[in-house]
Structure formats: C-alpha cells, structure tokens
Amino acid sequence: MSLKKNIKALREKKAIVQKGGGDAAIEKQVAMGKLTARDRILAILDENSFHEYDLFVQHEERNFGMDKKELAGDGVITGTGTIYGAPICIYAQDFTVMGGSLGLKHARKITKIMDHALKLQVPLIGINDSGGARIQEGIGALAGYGEIFYRNTMASGVIPQISVILGPCAGGAVYSPALTDFVFVVENISKMFITGPNVIESVLGEKISQEDLGGARVHAEITGNAHFYAGSEQECFEQIKQLIRFIPWNNNQKARAFEPKEPKIKKSIENIIPSDPKQPYDVRDIIKVLVDDSEFLEVHELFAQNIVVGFGRMNGETIGFVANQPLYLAGVLDCDSSDKAGRFIRYCDAFNIPLVTLEDMPGYLPGVDQEHEGVIRHGAKVLYAYSEATVPKITIILRKAYGGGYIAMNSRHLGADFVFSWPSAEIAVMGPEGAANIIFRKEIMEAEDQDAMRAEKVQEYIDKFANPYVAASKGYIDGVIEPAETRSVLLHALSISVKKVDERPKKKHGIPPF
C-alpha cells in the first residue's frame, strides 16, 4: 500500500471517530441547545491550537453485548491547546457517545491528560457532560472515577483546575468538579446532584425537578458548588478565557503581567460611600475605581453575596480582592460568606496572588440557624486562611471594623503586611449603640430622659473609641489615609511587597476547620 493510501485510510478512520455518536445523536445534542464536545473545545481554545490524542482508544468490556459496540474515542475527547497563548490541557466528555458514560478507558484517557497537565505544569480544563458511570463496566467505571479524584487532589494547588458542567453530572461524576478550583455552569444546561430526582422520589416521596434540585442557578446561588454562572455556553467560554488571563500556569509562577492602566471609571471614591454607616453601597463600585482599567472578574457572584471576592489588576499584576458587601445582609460574615472567602484566600495564596481586603462589616450574622449550621467552624476558616497565607496581604478599613470581624478580616494580628484605614472608620469591639448600652447601662437607666442620655453616650463612645485613631496609636494600623489616596497607597504597598518572604513552620499539612 502506498503512503498516499495509508494517509487516506487514516483520514477516513479519523473522520468516523470525529463524528462521535453519529448524526442522529448530534442532532439530539444540538436540539437540547448544547454544542458538541468537539465544538466546545474549539470554542474555548485559540484558533487552530487544538491537538487531539488517544483518538483511537477503545473500551475492552466484553459483557452485556459491549463486545459488539464500538464507541468513538470511548466517549471523551482529550488534547492540548492554548488560550491567549497560555498552554492548556483539556478534555470534553461526548454525550453523543453512549451518553458520555464513563468507563475505564474513558477515565484512563482523562487521567492521562491530567498526568500531562501536572508534569507540564499547565492548567487543566475538564468539560463534563455525562450520564455517569457506564453500568456495563461495573467496578471498572468506579475505578476510573477514583483514579480521577486522586489526580484532582494531587494537582490541587499545583496547577489551576477548571471544571465546566455542560450537561448532566450525577453521582460520582460531581466529585471531580468539586475537587477542582473553579466550576462553571450554564443556565438550563448544567445539572449536578448526588442522587437525582427519580431516586429521591422513589425512596423519600419528595417530588422535585432536576432544575430545582441541582440546576445551574441552585449551585451558583444556594450551594456555592459553582463559581461562575452564565446564560449560554458562549458566555461561559468567555468567562473561562477571562479567568485564564488572571491566573498563573502553575504554583511556581506568577500570573501574566499586563501593561499597567489607570482605572477606566474615574468616579470619586468619596462619592460612592455614604457617610452614614447604616446606609448601603455596592463595594464592587469601590473595587472598580481602584483596579487597572476598572476590570474586575467576580468569583461566586451569586453565592453569599454579603462578601465579594474576585480578581483585578494593579500595576498590571493580578490581585485577589476580598471585600465585605454592605449591599447584602449589611456585609456580615456568616457560614457561607466565610466558606467563600476562606476558599478564595487559599486559592490566591496557593497561586502567588497578593490579597487586598476591603473591610466594612458590622460583625457576624446572629441567628439560631447560623449557630446550628456551625458558624464557629465556618468562621474559623477565614482566620485560618488569612493567617496561613504568605502572599502580600493588605487591608483597607473603609467604615466599620467591629469585634471578631475586625480580627478576621486580615488584621495586623493575623499577619497582614499593611493595614490602612479611612478617617471614617470605626474600629471597636462592637457598634457604638451596643457598646454604649452596656458600658453606660447604669447612667442610661437612671437618666430622666433615657433616649437623650443614650444618644449622648453613643456619641461619647464614637468620639472616644469608634474611630481609627485608637488602633493607630497602638500601631495596629499603619496609617490613616484619605479615600482618594487609596489606589496610590495600594500600588506602592503592592510594588514594595513583590519579593516578600514569609516562612511557615515545616509540617505535612495543617488541619483547617473543613
């Protein structure tokens, strides 16, 4: 056979496999509003950058009639490519091939590309669209899942791992995404649950739709399992590309530096914050006037909205922002916002991203539900994450810093490198009203006009304690700055912290309050 013939045969073989489950199955996939696995990879990666491997891998199952079934690529496409030039290892489960079900060879293709990612020290993107374990393969499928989870864990904190949920994702399949750094979901397409609605109904009699049980919105807003929520696959891919530009390839590197830019939004920072500490504002408006080009990529936008976390740039370098959000629940810390902040802080620390904390919080959320949900254990995650982090850590206290919240939000006492405060800040054990009620209880009770006396004592407390100067006099904060100076103070503090060295005691690993 001549080489030409060989090439022709190869092309034909490739064309068959690249068709996945065939035209009918592809039509069904498209009818559900979904792209095919191949189109998804091509849409995420730079044009013409995708190189596929293991195209001809076949399953080895011989039972249940599987010996007569040929599955294109065993239901998963794997390969490498680039996003804005950054190298990427990627896989996409193909729902058109036996429902994207995971058998041993399918899993081994995934673990192979994961091993590559770890050795090459580049980010891994997994696109999940699978009915779950391939039942015919039995234990082989379970072994496959386990081998993936193990590698997710080994790669955690070494290379960025991104999961994209673009279809059903049930049972064991949800645990690989849960072990990765960022989970992306799309409205009406993504579904994640451990036990689906059918099982729940047959066992417990509870009727619930797939969407209400584990749809995209539920995971983005209620459970926090998803970090990014999009209205369409295309929007989701744009979010992934934007994220890749903010994070480094691995934990030995820094994120790519961009040309420093002035904020696009020129609004005066003083006009964003109401002077009355009881009035809300959107802290994202503050972040946007501080960061380069006013570009801010929010993580967990819909989950625990009382705290804002995300990436922006200063001096052209990626910075992780953690900010109390007075717009929701007055910006309190609670179970969910503690989980959200704690995790983000650890992400930034693992990947050499400096942290800037904007603090304006009245304390922890009171309530039986919070206490019983374990706000002590959840809240402790924030203390742990800040204390543990060795990246540059800078705090700006905008208005309120009360009690445990003052300590938790990257205080000097937890190892902050720089803490600055606006002159409007109230740094105290609790809000003036509460404090005055306790300290001056007797005076207030005995006064003829209790309300007038209370107001007087509240003012006395504000004048004496609820200001930044007590903390400044003890050196707990490094400076009281004018709001308009914030960006320049941050730029300086960040640029002189570039070579920061901060050692921690040698240990196998800590025991954070999981």
Partner: protein, 110 residues
C-alpha cells in the same frame, strides 16, 4: 450594579446587634428556617416515608417505650415508640399515608 440602580431597590432595616442597617436580603437568607422551641407533646416524622402501621388510638394511655406506629423510609421500618407515659390526644395519620419530613404525626397530653 451602580449606586443609582440601588436607589430603586427595596432596602430593609437589618439589625446586627444594636444597630439597624439598610441592606438587601439574599434568596438563601429569605428561605432560612426559623427556630421553634420543640414541644415535647408533639411528635414529628424525622424522615419522609409511609405509615405502615398504627398501634394506638386517640384517648389511649400509653406507657413509655410502647410502640406507637411504624414509619417506613429508605426501605427501613422505623418503629416510633412512646417517649414517656402519656395519653394520646390526637393522631394525624392513618395506615398507608405518606408523610413528608417534620410532619406532626401525633400529639400527647399528660
């Protein structure tokens, strides 16, 4: 979301210790469960399931530890026993009905 848009929103007064803040609530916060002090005289289902048997009737005086009913859930038959000696005031279920979690099964009186 700009500050201007925020002005159109319905801010509520949200008490954290002694001070009330103007703010918005999250969906999850609105859906939270409120705590109710448990009444020892009210017995609730601890799991959704089916009542497969009821051994007592209203007005009976039942000794502590005696079986009251069987609640089948997750393929397990759970026997619900009398928590303390008392009279059965009211039974809200009968054999064969399906109950959700935390459904008031029966009430007692001393």
């Amino acid at each position: 979301m700009s500050t201007k848009e925020n002005k159109d929103k319905e801010f509520i007064d949200f008490a954290v210790t002694a001070r009330k803040y103007k703010t918005l609530l999250t969906r999850k916060y609105k859906q939270r469960k409120f705590w109710e002090n448990p009444d020892p005289m009210e017995i609730f289902s601890f799991i959704p399931g089916t009542i497969v048997d009821v051994f007592v009737k209203e007005g009976d005086f039942v000794e502590e530890g005696e079986p009251i009913m069987i609640l089948e859930a997750m393929k397990m038959k759970n026997r619900i026993d009398m928590p303390f000696s008392a009279k059965i005031k009211k039974i809200n279920v009968e054999k064969g009905v399906r109950v959700p979690k935390e459904f008031l099964l029966f009430e007692l009186e001393k």
